[in-house]
Symmetry: C2
Subunit: 154 residues, 2 copies
DNA sequence: CTCAGATAGATGTATATACCCCTATTTCTG
DNA sequence: CAGAAATAGGGGTATATACATCTATCTGAG
């Protein structure tokens, strides 16, 4: 059989374009982020920031290190992502008892902002649910969680 | 019934942390990107860049505008993401017949780099498949594609 | 043919992301 | 207890991402 390198390359490229988990996941993240961000626009915060506010709300005063573990984000990334929230006065960052640590907590304005954003988040989430159904949503969640743990525990 | 605002807030926050599609998708994208990037490290290119090389390979000489549509990426984002590839000499960017357009194409070194990276991509993809199974992979793809089209066609 | 509107990119700005290396602490070991 | 090892963050660097706005070019209506 004669080989046709060019054609073979092309087939493989197409296959990759259609089956790359990294590509589709990043693409979906871009799209879904835009969707939520657009809805959150009136609040002045973005989806990532809402995630962080929520995490702080749940974990109470918490160190950057611990937060980073929970949201599965690089420590330096998280520290930088916290800055806009700090600048807007939505969170407080102060040294902990262990002076190496920074303890993050929600300010009263931060709590208000969270409530405002949570309301809109509910609307965005409902739109997604309308389209995927609760079952589709559950499957998606299970799949993505699997992906996360797959890449974490190696 | 007496209301307990604080406790209610907390419950809602936890619910959001556990069910936010945007959060889980972004988290998965971070994890999977790190996974692929780590494997691709020896090649000197990253997963996003491999995606772009592949797209260029498939679409042949193509305008930035068209490419952006295909990969579902903002035009300005794409233009900036192409720069590292251009700097490394893996792609060529030149004016099209329509002088407003920039036409992107793969250089011979770019093709070589693509082949090298494709090989590694296959290994990464295989590891994912081992864990999710072909079926799980298909479901994941379907779910995420649904998410993309959901946010695109509104 | 001319000019108004549409289109493709480029640029400014801001956030998001991670790696590497450095510093300040803390903890552990001899 | 003193010095070594571990740990938490900070800052540098580079890429990834999008929106708003600007410029150059093209196209279509008159």
């Amino acid at each position: 059989m004669t080989q046709k390198p060019k054609a073979l390359d092309h087939t493989e490229a197409v296959k990759m374009g259609k089956s790359c988990v990294c590509f589709i996941t990043r693409k979906a993240a871009r799209c879904i982020t835009q969707f939520y961000d657009e809805m959150l626009r009136p609040t002045g915060i973005r989806s990532t920031q809402l995630t962080l506010l929520t995490t702080i709300k749940i974990l109470g005063p918490v160190s950057v290190k611990r937060m980073a573990e929970v949201v599965v984000m690089d420590r330096s990334t998280l520290a930088r992502n916290l800055k806009p929230l700090d600048r807007q006065g939505l969170i407080r960052i102060e040294p902990g008892e262990d002076l190496r640590e920074r303890i993050v907590s929600l300010t009263p304005p931060g709590l208000e902002k969270w409530k405002e954003a949570y309301f809109i988040w509910g609307q965005a989430q409902a739109q997604i649910k309308d389209r995927l159904g609760q079952e589709g949503l559950d499957t998606l969640f299970a799949n993505l969680s699997e992906l996360v743990s797959l890449t974490r525990n190696r």
